[in-house]
Subunit: 531 residues, 2 copies
């Protein structure tokens, strides 16, 4: 495959006429060829028109056909071969093993959604049969299924150029739900985006689907992105990125004549809580493990542990000594973009200059452009409670350890936190009472609560929640990773007394799709009650 | 029980110090005793503080205890006896049989949510067991359940003083989900609200729940209502009422530091589509049936059929003749409030004055204050497509019949409609092709699609959807009637490697609650896989 610098609009490829831009290799600062032409209003219009045209047909594709489509995208991504990895390395500064792993995750995610589509419980079929003789009034025949919301605009993230980008979780779950997708590519990895986009485009064609099921646009977020979210044919938005970016899209969506849901995954500092017995038992191991999680991928994860809350005392000193030592030996690593690097440097300088903060350790000196030099800082619960600046996310390998005099102070700090993607407890059996006191707070604050692990690393499975209260996301009722993510793009419709032959298959007598259905209040598999 | 004009804040009752107001009997225009004191910022603060205090405890009440609480509310409502019906009649102008029926529905709804709580599938327990030997990386033990969002603000509707008010569907589903509720009572039926509020308050006490689980406030929407929605401790809003009111609360919620979901059920004209074969077979019966639905309860239903789309021709004339005759004999009936009556009169005058509209029939002259004199109007598809004023809801018994030259024109009119709660088809077997052409549009436009019935009458059951795209509601992903309504007040939380004894019961090994759970991808009942 060759990267041509072109947008993909339905079945066509074309070069945008707006300002040309290049991907930058963050390891060298050099511009990568080819240049990409940014799109404008005409391309947004065309992509949305095609998506709208495709919608009614695509949302009613059979479960098997839709699953095969997702699997074809996965196969096409693998078929790109090493060109994809090489280009993604150049555009992101991420190392080969990481990107190979991310490709596996992306492909696995598409296949998991294919399995989810086939299984069909996401349709949530419910049937309340007619009760013609009920007094005082008969009951009509009522049947409910979920249908796709409409075309979805997806904004890829810089930090996962494969798994949270063009064919990442938002796209996979929206396509699984039956929604056409228009992607606004992240300008940091346009070549990777084009390669993946062509893989999706080819799958649309070979599966015989309407071309508007997928489009890929380049251009500025404030121009292309805002126009996309404002388009009346777009019915939902998936976004992973900064708080500023997510909030701004949410505002565009709220200002529409018809407001639409925005699923923005934004900002989280992912508190890690070290309890007494765990600290006493393994302070050194925890210190080393923590720094491993903190510095992985230059700390450029939504779930990076940016805050540690620990009970003060000699065991915490052991932890800090071990963490400082490990961090002090940590090699610098290239960050994703010059902009992310600049924001990191600025954030670290700001926290280091805070009079209530002590710089505990820095990683090794940088040796190239745009490198992250990890930083570890400490402060007190009192300072943290009184200074909101200490609550802000620094995207990259930087973390703040808060010394808490007791569990009550620790709980007070947690209560003051904004919403989080994750909260992590390090605990032993003797910490159970402290955990019981903290769990209600953590449940209110975070989408995922972990014990004795590290938050970086998000399993793609049924039980995962990658979400949480604002500003972790703009909508705490959902997740952007795992099979429940499909629900973001669905709405229920009820059919009353519609003749069987006109009903969608999911709701017909005899259960032709073999679905789990709730019939007269009782959940049953195909062949069961009402089967 | 005696109505005292008092607000209920947790376990206390107190009289508001702001402007006093009285309920008005719309049948006479007379003020009803006692006067009610409106609340202010202090009462909002106190109710929210108590709700927040109650939240962690209430959301973890056992399923059985929570179900018994809902059933106790139902029993307490019945125990009020005839005083409730008499007061609601005086405050709403609605007749006794209607209010007795509505009481039955309200109580039935509480009991249905009690059954739903006990059954427990709304927790959506999912378990992905650990895979310690998986390569390249082991999988952690991941478990997901849904938990309550937080305190919910509920705004009752004027047109269902029992079923969509203080202990109506929003309150019942929020309490079922584990959310404390603060109700802003509708000023049209404060006495009814106080009676029901005391029934809930007594249930909170007798069930030993924290007092903050329920509060009831009086006062102006722009003062009390906006303050309630802006309070940081309120995490979701349920509202049934006007488009203006709903949109305004949505804007308050979107402007918060932490935006929250607003479930506003607002505006719908509920198109009824008459297809050729059905019209030919039973035009007269359809005409009479339509007017019955249109004039029931003075047309004051969210699902009132305010728009009829029919294929033009002699059969439509038969329908119109029958409808005009039935409507001409329709007696006037008292509307809910002087304000609703004034808006109705103004809306009917406006549509009658539209040069593209013909007045087909009016009901009998009014004989008392605030009475609805039904109106039936006709216009053309062309006029409807070019004049957005014809799309506006007139709350009350008024409907507009649009003559369509063919199914394509009918489809074009449907495509132009805003979102709807319902869409109704009258069809025979020979209309199947037309229905197939229209269904995709109806699915996109409405929450419920009916064949050969009338939209007024909303069954409370599992399969019901009382929802739909904007402006029918502010959030098409949900329903405000039926058991799925509980989902509005829930969010998922994932537990990773949390020791079994610290997990919520719903997720523990051995399935102590006997729930349906999805274990390793497979849905299974208690005793099944992973049971």
């Amino acid at each position: 495959m060759t990267i041509r610098g072109e947008m993909l609009i339905g079945a066509t490829a074309l070069r945008g006429a707006e300002t040309e831009f290049h991907a930058i290799d963050p390891a060298t600062g050099a511009a990568l060829e080819p240049g990409f032409g940014g799109g404008g209003a005409a391309e947004v219009e065309r992509a949305c028109a095609l998506a709208w045209e495709a919608f009614d047909l695509y949302r009613e594709t059979g479960l098997e056909a839709r699953a095969v489509f997702l699997e074809t995208i996965a196969a096409n991504i693998l078929a790109i071969g090493d060109e994809l990895i090489v280009r993604a390395m150049a555009e992101s500064g991420l190392p080969r093993p990481r990107l190979e792993g991310e490709r596996g995750r992306t492909v696995g995610q598409l296949r998991l959604f294919a399995r989810t589509v086939r299984e069909g419980s996401w349709l949530e079929a419910r049937i309340d049969p007619a009760q013609p003789t009920r007094a005082p009034l008969p009951r009509a025949d009522l049947r409910q299924r979920h249908i796709a919301l409409g075309p979805v605009a997806v904004f890829g993230a810089s930090n996962f150029p494969l798994a949270f980008s063009v064919a990442g979780g938002d796209t996979a779950s929206a396509l699984a739900a039956g929604c056409p997708v228009v992607v606004k590519a992240h300008s940091a990895h346009p070549g990777t985006s084009e390669l993946i986009g062509r893989a999706v485009q080819a799958a649309v064609a070979s599966c015989g689907l309407p071309e508007g099921v997928f489009s890929l646009l380049f251009g500025s977020g404030s121009r292309i992105g805002a126009a996309l979210v404002a388009d009346p044919r777009v019915k939902a938005v998936g976004f992973t990125g900064s708080r500023r970016g997510g909030v701004s899209l949410t505002q565009v969506a709220a200002a529409r004549a018809e407001p639409i849901p925005v699923y923005a995954e934004m900002s989280s500092i992912n508190p890690v809580i070290l309890l007494s017995a765990a600290l006493a038992a393994r302070a050194e191991a925890l210190g080393a493990g923590f720094v491993g999680s903190l510095t992985m991928g230059a700390g450029q994860f939504c779930t990076n542990p940016g805050l540690v809350l620990a009970l003060d005392g000699p065991d915490l000193e052991r932890f800090l000594t071990a963490a400082a030592e490990t961090l002090g030996g940590a090699a610098p690593s290239t960050m994703l973009t010059p902009g992310i690097h600049a924001a990191y440097v600025e954030g670290v300088a700001r926290i280091a200059a805070n009079p209530a903060v002590e710089v505990l350790a820095r990683g090794q000196q940088t040796v190239g452009p745009h490198q992250c030099r990890p930083g570890l800082f400490t402060s007190s619960a009192e300072a943290f409670l009184s200074d909101p600046a200490l609550h802000e996310e620094i995207f990259g390998a930087a973390s703040l350890v808060i010394r808490c005099p007791d569990v009550a102070a620790l709980r007070a700090v947690l209560e003051r936190l904004e919403g989080q993607l994750t909260a992590t407890l390090h605990m032993d059996a003797a910490d159970a009472d402290a955990v019981r006191a903290l769990l209600p707070v953590l449940e209110r604050k975070a989408g995922r609560i972990l014990a004795n692990g590290w938050p970086t690393g998000v399993e793609v499975c049924d039980a995962m929640v990658h979400g949480g209260p604002f500003p972790a996301t703009s909508d705490s009722r959902t997740t952007s990773v795992g099979t429940l993510a499909i629900r973001r793009f669905l709405r229920p419709v009820c059919y009353q007394d519609i003749p069987d032959s006109l009903l969608p298959e999911a709701l017909r007598d005899g259960n032709p799709l073999g679905l789990w259905r709730r019939v007269d209040g009782v959940l049953a598999a195909a062949g069961g009650v009402g089967g």
